[in-house]
C-alpha cells in the first residue's frame, strides 16, 4: 500500500487514489483524419513498462484532482509528481539509477 503525495493535499494512503492510465496519451483528432491504426494505437496499445512509468492518478477520494506520478513498476518507488499539462522533469528516465 503506497503512500502517495498528492500535490494539493500532501501525503495520503493509496486507498484514496485511482490509477487512471498512462500519462501523455495523445488523443488523435479530428476523427475524419485519423486512420484505423492510429486510432487503435490510441485506444488499445499500451506499453507494459518495466521500470519508470509516467502515470495519471486521481485523488478521487480527496481533492478530486488528477496529476502525473513518476513511479517505478519494479521497486514501487515513487519519485514525484507533476501537474496535468506539464511535461515530466528532465532526466526522469534516469531517476531509478543508483546515486
Amino acid at each position: 500500500m503506497h503512500k502517495i503525495t498528492c500535490p494539493y493535499c500532501g501525503e495520503r494512503s493509496e486507498e484514496e487514489f485511482k490509477y487512471a492510465g498512462p500519462s501523455h496519451l495523445e488523443r488523435p483528432i479530428p476523427a475524419s483524419e485519423v486512420t484505423d491504426s492510429q486510432w487503435a494505437e490510441y485506444l488499445f496499445m499500451r506499453d507494459n513498462i518495466k521500470g519508470i512509468s509516467l502515470e495519471r492518478w486521481g485523488h478521487i477520494h480527496g481533492c478530486s484532482q488528477y496529476f502525473n506520478l513518476i513511479r517505478n513498476t519494479v521497486t514501487h518507488e515513487i519519485y514525484g509528481c507533476y501537474q496535468m499539462g506539464e511535461q515530466p522533469p528532465e532526466g526522469w528516465q534516469k531517476l531509478g539509477d543508483k546515486k
Binding site: 500500500m1 493509496e14 485506444l43 499539462g85
Partner: protein, 975 residues
C-alpha cells in the same frame, strides 16, 4: 498430574488449577500453561494426525512454528480451526478437538488406509486423479485429507480494524527488540513495540542467561519497567505483525479477548487488525530452529531442542524422562545442560561433527553427559511414542555413513539442525536474502524500504551479539547436515519428513527433482512444501538444501521462494472487521425513507439505493400492486420518489462546448430552457449513459443521469475536463444526493403541479415537452423538467433534499381530489418497457453503439468531435451483423424470461446458433399481454419475423416489432 510435571520454580501459578477438554477427555493444567504444555504434563503424546497419511503426531515446537499440534478451538459459534496449541493458553472450560482424524487423535481409523501412501506422492494432484477425473476423487480426498473444519455458525463477536502512525515500529520483544525500542525512544521517537507472545522477553523467557548481574527474568522485569515508564513507547502484546507492504505499512493482528474467555461475546472486539504506518521498521523477529531429517523423524516424542528448554524452564514440564539430543551445532548443548539441571536423564548427545570444542561442549562434558561425536541419529522407533533411536557414525567431510549402528533407549529426542532467521517480513518488504555459508542460514542482505533486521533475525544468534552486558562464549561452527547419505538400503527406503504439516518427505523432494521440478518455485508447488498453514517455518530451508544436494547445486543457486503474508494465520473475522451483515456495504436510504415505510412500501435494492419497489394495499400480491400503480398513472396521476436520479451541474463560459464533446447531440445549438434526451459514448463508441440534460442558462447546464451511473459520470466528466481540456472554463458539480426529485406522471400531472401555486405557466404551449423551468418557492430553489419515462404527460420536480418531505406531502394533500397516489420503481420499469424506452446497461451491452438502439442518424449527423466518434467508423461498428434493440411481441401469454436466448431462424430447440437475447420483459397491465425488448442479430431488418426463444424453463415464441408498444405515435407526452 504425572511425573512429567517438574517442581515449581514460580513460573506457573500452582494455586490455580484449570480444567479443559481435549477430544472429549478432561485434563488439568495450571495458570500459565499453554495447551501444549498442559497436555504434555498429562502425558498426552499424540495430539494430531498428519495431513495426508494420518500418521500420529506430537508436539514438536513451543512457538508459532509448530507444525503438528493444531486443534479446533472453542465451541460453536466461537470455534476457530487450526489454532496452534503451543501459543494458546489454557482456560477454564476450554474445549479442543484434534484435527484430521476420526474418532480422535490417538485412535484414528483413517490411518488404517496405509494405502494412502501410494496416492499422495509428490505431484499427486497432477498424477493420480487424471482418470476418471478430479470430480470423482475430490469428495474422497477431501474427506481423508485436510486440516480443521470451517465453523458453520456466524461468530457473534466483534472484530475491528484500527490505524496507527508511528516513528518506529519494532517487531518482536526479545532482547534485541527491547533494546532497539528503548534506544529509539531515547532519541525522542514515538515507538511501537509489538510482540506475538502475551509477555515480552522472547528467548529470555526460557533461556538460562546472566545479563550483567541479573537473571534473564529479572532483566525482563527491569526492561518492562523501563518501557512502561517511557512516554514514547507503546507495547502491544498478543499482536503479530503478519504482513509487510509498500511504504512501511504493516498489518498487525491483535488478539484481545480469547485469553479471557473464548466462548463468550466480550465488550471489546475479539481481534483487531491494525494498519500501522511507520517511518522506520525494526525487525527483531528472532530465529526458528530447524529439525533434522532422519527416518521416522515425525514420531511423537521428537522435538526441537530449544522447545525442550522452553517447556522445562518456562512451563515447568519435562517432555520426557530419558532424553537423547541430536545436533550439528553448539546450541543444542544448552538443552542437555538445562535438562540435567532439572533432574532429567540425558542418555547421550549425538553430534554429527567430528570434533566440536566450543565452550558449551566442554560444559556438557564436564557435566558428565556422554557426547557421541561424529554420530547421527538415523532412525526413530516406537509406536505412537518414541521408544528408541538408532545411531550410526558419520563422516561429514566425506558424507559417508558407517554401516555400524546401535540403539539408544529414550522417550524424548531433542533435535537441532541450526537456526533460520525469521526473515518473512523482510522478504515481504521486498528485501533480498543471502546465504551465509558460516551460519548455514539465509540472512537479510538488501533492504528496499526503511527497515532493518537485528538480532537473531539478522543471523546474530548469541545473546552476547545483542547485549553488551553478556559475556561472549566461544562456539564451534555449525556443519551442514541436511539429509542422511542414502547409500544404505535402510535409509534409502525410509520416510524422512521434511515438511511435517504437509507431509512431504525427503523422497518426495528427490522424486520432484527426478521429474525435473528443480526450479524452487515449481518445486514448492509440485510437492506443496511450505504451503501448509505453518508456511514452512521449519521445513523450507531443509527442503531446498536437499533439493540442492539432489541436483548438485549449492543453496544460493537453488534460492528461496518469496515469503508471502500472513506470517501466521489470521482469522477471516479480523479481515472482515466491521464489514459484516448490514455494515458489509453502505446502504443508501432516501430522504423520504421513513414516509415510505409508514406508507407500507415494499423496499428493494436498486444499485446502491434502497427504494420502494411498490406500495402494498391490504393483502394484494406484488404483481397486483404493480399493476394497480401502472393503471393509476396511466389514467390519473402518480408520484414517484425519483431522488436517486443522477444530477450534475455544469457551469462556465465553455459549458456548452464542453458538453458538446460528450453527447452525440448538438449541445451548442440548444436554446436556454430546452431539454434533450442525450447519449454519451465511451471512446469505443459503446453507449455508456443516457439521460435528459437541459440548458438552464447560457453558461449553465443541468444533467440528469441513470441512478447507477451518477457518481461515475460526474467523475468521467471531471477527468476529461482536468486532463484533456483543462483550458475550458467549466466546473462540474455532482449534486445527486444533495437534491431530491419527485417524478409526477399521468394525464393529470399538470393539474397536480398547478395546485402548488408556483409562478410558472404550465400551459402546454408555455411549457412544452422537453423544456425546463426554474423557480423558487419561498427561498427554496426548484427545477422542473417536463419529461417522461412512462409515456404519459410528466414532470420531474427537483429541490434540495431537505425540502422533499414538505413537497411530497403537499402534492399528496393538494392532489387529493385528483386522486394522486405514490408509485414505486417496479411500476416505472413496467411503463418504460411498454413504451420501449431503453435502459442503458440492461437493454445494451458493451458492444452496443447508438446505431443499435435507434440513434445512429443523430450520431452520424454530428460532425464536430465527440468522445467515441472515431470508433463509430471502425470496421466492427460498420459491419452488417450487429445486435439491435427491437420489441418482442409475445405469441401466447407467457412472460418471456429476461436473458432468454434467441435461436437462429429455423431452430425451435437447442442446440442452436444464438442470435440475441431478451433484455427486458414484463406483463403489461395496460395492454393486458406480455411485452419484451431484446437485442437481436440484424433485428431492424427482421421486423415481423417470428423467432424462437428458450431458457431453462421452456421455449417461447415472439414476433419482432418496433420497441414501442404503447401510444406509438407519442402523442400523450405532448398532451
Amino acid at each position: 498430574m504425572t511425573s512429567f510435571r517438574l517442581p515449581s520454580k514460580g513460573r506457573l501459578n500452582r494455586e490455580k488449577l484449570i480444567s479443559f477438554t481435549f477430544d472429549g477427555k478432561t485434563y488439568f493444567g495450571y495458570e500459565g500453561d499453554t495447551i501444549a504444555s498442559a497436555l504434555m504434563a498429562n502425558d498426552v503424546s499424540v495430539v494430531g494426525r498428519s495431513f495426508k497419511y494420518h500418521r500420529p503426531r506430537g508436539i514438536m515446537a513451543a512457538g508459532a512454528e509448530e507444525a503438528n499440534a493444531i486443534a479446533q478451538l472453542g465451541t460453536p459459534p466461537f470455534e476457530e480451526p487450526n489454532v496452534r496449541m503451543t501459543t494458546t493458553a489454557i482456560q477454564e472450560g476450554l474445549t479442543l478437538k484434534s484435527v484430521n482424524c476420526w474418532p480422535n487423535a490417538k485412535y484414528d481409523l483413517l490411518a488404517v488406509t496405509g494405502i494412502l501412501k501410494r496416492f499422495f506422492v509428490a505431484g499427486f494432484y497432477y498424477k493420480v486423479f487424471k482418470w476418471p477425473g478430479w470430480k470423482f476423487w475430490s469428495p474422497m480426498v477431501r474427506q481423508m485429507a485436510g486440516l480443521g473444519t470451517i465453523p458453520k455458525e456466524n461468530d457473534p463477536s466483534a472484530y475491528d480494524h484500527q490505524y496507527k502512525h508511528v516513528d518506529v515500529l519494532v517487531v518482536g520483544a526479545g532482547p534485541a527488540g527491547i533494546r532497539a525500542a528503548l534506544e529509539h525512544a531515547k532519541e525522542d521517537k514515538q515507538v511501537l513495540l509489538v510482540e506475538q507472545d502475551h509477555q515480552i522477553g522472547g528467548a529470555l523467557l526460557f533461556e538460562d542467561a546472566q545479563i550483567f548481574n541479573l537473571s534473564a527474568l529479572k532483566w525482563i522485569d527491569a526492561q518492562k519497567e523501563k518501557l512502561q515508564s517511557h512516554p514514547n513507547v507503546t507495547v502491544m502484546t498478543r499482536s503479530t505483525a503478519v504482513g509487510y507492504y509498500d511504504d512501511n505499512l504493516l498489518a498487525v493482528s491483535e488478539r484481545l479477548t480469547d485469553h479471557i474467555d473464548v466462548n463468550k461475546v466480550a465488550d471489546t472486539p475479539r481481534e483487531k487488525l491494525w494498519h500501522i504506518r511507520a517511518q522506520k521498521v525494526v525487525l527483531a523477529t528472532g530465529a526458528i530452529e530447524r529439525p533434522l531429517v532422519f527416518s521416522n523423524n515425525d514420531l511423537p516424542g521428537i522435538m526441537l531442542a530449544s522447545a525442550i528448554r522452553t517447556y522445562v524452564n518456562r512451563y515447568e514440564v519435562s517432555p520426557g524422562h530419558k532424553v537423547v539430543i541430536a545436533t550439528n551445532n553448539d546450541d543444542a548443548y544448552r538443552t542437555a545442560l538445562c535438562l540435567q539441571k532439572a533432574g532429567v536423564k540425558v542418555v547421550a548427545l549425538v553430534d554429527a561433527r567430528q570434533s566440536p570444542d566450543g565452550y558449551l561442549v566442554h560444559a556438557v562434558e564436564d557435566a558428565g553427559i556422554e557426547i557421541l561425536k561424529g554420530h547421527v541419529v538415523t532412525e526413530a522407533k516406537g509406536q505412537k511414542r518414541l521408544s528408541s533411536v538408532t545411531v550410526s557414525p558419520i563422516d561429514l567431510s566425506e558424507n559417508v555413513l558407517s554401516t555400524m549402528r546401535f540403539n539408544l533407549k529414550c522417550d524424548l529426542l531433542g533435535m537441532s539442525g541450526g537456526y533460520s532467521p525469521v526473515v518473512h517480513l523482510h522478504s515481504q518488504s521486498g528485501g533480498k536474502l543471502r546465504f551465509d555459508d558460516c551460519k548455514l542460514a539465509f540472512v537479510p542482505s538488501l533492504y528496499v524500504q526503511d527497515n532493518e533486521c537485528i538480532g537473531a533475525a539478522n543471523g546474530y544468534f548469541e545473546l552476547s551479539d545483542i547485549l553488551s552486558d553478556v559475556e561472549p562464549i566461544h562456539n564451534s561452527p555449525i556443519e551442514a547436515l541436511w539429509d542422511l547419505p542414502t547409500e544404505r538400503e535402510d535409509i534409502r527406503h525410509a520416510k524422512r519428513w521434511v515438511d511435517f504439516q504437509h507431509d512431504v518427505t525427503s523422497s518426495d523432494v528427490n522424486l520432484a527433482a527426478r521429474e525435473n521440478y528443480t526450479s524452487v518455485e515449481h518445486f514448492k508447488r509440485y510437492t506443496t512444501t511450505g504451503m501448509a498453514m505453518d508456511q514452512g517455518k521449519t521445513s523450507n530451508i531443509n527442503a531446498l538444501a536437499i533439493l540442492g544436494q539432489v541436483t548438485n547445486r549449492d543453496i544460493p543457486e537453488v534460492g528461496t521462494t518469496k515469503f508471502r503474508p500472513p506470517y501466521t494465520p489470521v482469522t477471516m473475522g479480523a479481515f472482515a472487521g466491521r464489514k459484516r451483515g448490514k455494515l458489509f456495504k453502505p446502504i443508501r436510504y432516501l430522504a423520504l425513507n421513513s414516509w415510505h415505510e409508514a406508507y407500507d412500501a415494499v423496499f428493494d435494492e436498486y444499485g446502491i439505493w434502497t427504494r420502494p419497489a411498490y406500495y402494498k394495499e391490504d393483502n394484494e400480491t406484488a404483481q397486483a400492486a404493480i399493476e394497480r400503480e401502472v393503471l393509476h398513472v396511466r389514467h390519473a396521476v402518480g408520484i414517484l420518489d425519483y431522488s436517486p436520479l443522477g444530477k450534475i451541474d455544469v457551469r462556465g463560459k465553455d459549458a456548452a462546448e464542453f458538453l458538446h464533446k460528450f453527447y452525440i447531440n448538438n449541445v451548442k445549438a440548444m436554446k436556454v430552457g430546452v431539454a434533450r434526451y442525450g447519449l454519451m459514448l465511451n471512446e469505443q463508441a459503446t453507449v455508456m449513459e443516457d439521460g435528459v440534460f437541459s440548458r438552464l442558462e447560457e453558461d449553465h447546464f443541468w444533467l440528469t443521469t441513470t441512478s447507477g451511473n451518477a457518481a461515475m459520470i460526474a467523475g468521467w466528466l471531471d477527468e476529461w475536463r482536468q486532463c484533456e481540456w483543462p483550458y475550458l472554463d467549466v466546473i462540474v458539480t455532482p449534486m445527486t444526493t444533495g437534491w431530491g426529485t419527485i417524478s409526477i406522471q399521468g394525464p393529470k400531472s399538470r393539474k397536480l403541479l398547478e395546485t402548488l401555486g408556483l409562478d410558472i405557466d404550465f400551459a402546454n404551449e408555455a411549457f412544452p415537452h422537453m423544456t425546463v423551468r426554474c423557480t423558487t418557492l419561498g427561498s427554496v430553489e426548484i427545477r422542473i423538467l417536463r419529461t417522461s419515462f412512462t409515456g404519459e404527460l410528466g414532470y420531474e420536480v427537483s429541490m434540495p433534499s431537505s425540502y422533499m418531505r414538505s413537497m411530497w406531502e403537499a402534492l399528496l394533500e393538494r392532489g387529493k381530489e385528483l386522486k394522486v397516489e405514490p408509485f414505486g420503481v417496479e411500476a416505472l420499469l413496467v411503463m418504460r418497457t411498454e413504451k420501449g424506452y431503453v435502459h442503458v446497461g440492461g437493454d445494451t451491452d458493451s458492444a452496443t453503439i447508438p446505431h443499435d438502439i435507434g440513434f445512429g442518424a443523430m450520431a452520424d449527423r454530428k460532425k464536430d468531435d465527440f468522445i467515441g466518434q472515431r470508433s463509430l467508423t471502425r470496421e466492427a461498428a460498420l459491419q452488417k451483423n450487429r445486435e439491435q434493440l427491437v420489441g418482442l411481441e409475445v405469441i401466447g401469454d407467457k412472460v418471456l424470461p429476461v436473458g432468454g436466448i434467441i435461436m437462429a431462424n429455423g431452430y425451435s430447440a437447442p442446440p442452436a446458433p444464438i442470435e440475441g437475447r431478451v433484455t427486458s420483459s414484463v406483463y403489461s397491465p395496460t395492454l393486458k399481454k406480455p411485452v419484451a425488448l431484446g437485442l437481436v442479430l440484424n433485428g431492424y431488418e427482421r421486423m415481423g419475423e417470428v423467432i424462437n426463444i428458450y431458457d431453462f424453463e421452456g421455449s417461447y415464441e415472439a414476433k419482432i416489432t418496433s420497441t414501442c408498444f404503447y401510444d406509438t405515435k407519442g402523442e400523450l407526452v405532448h398532451g
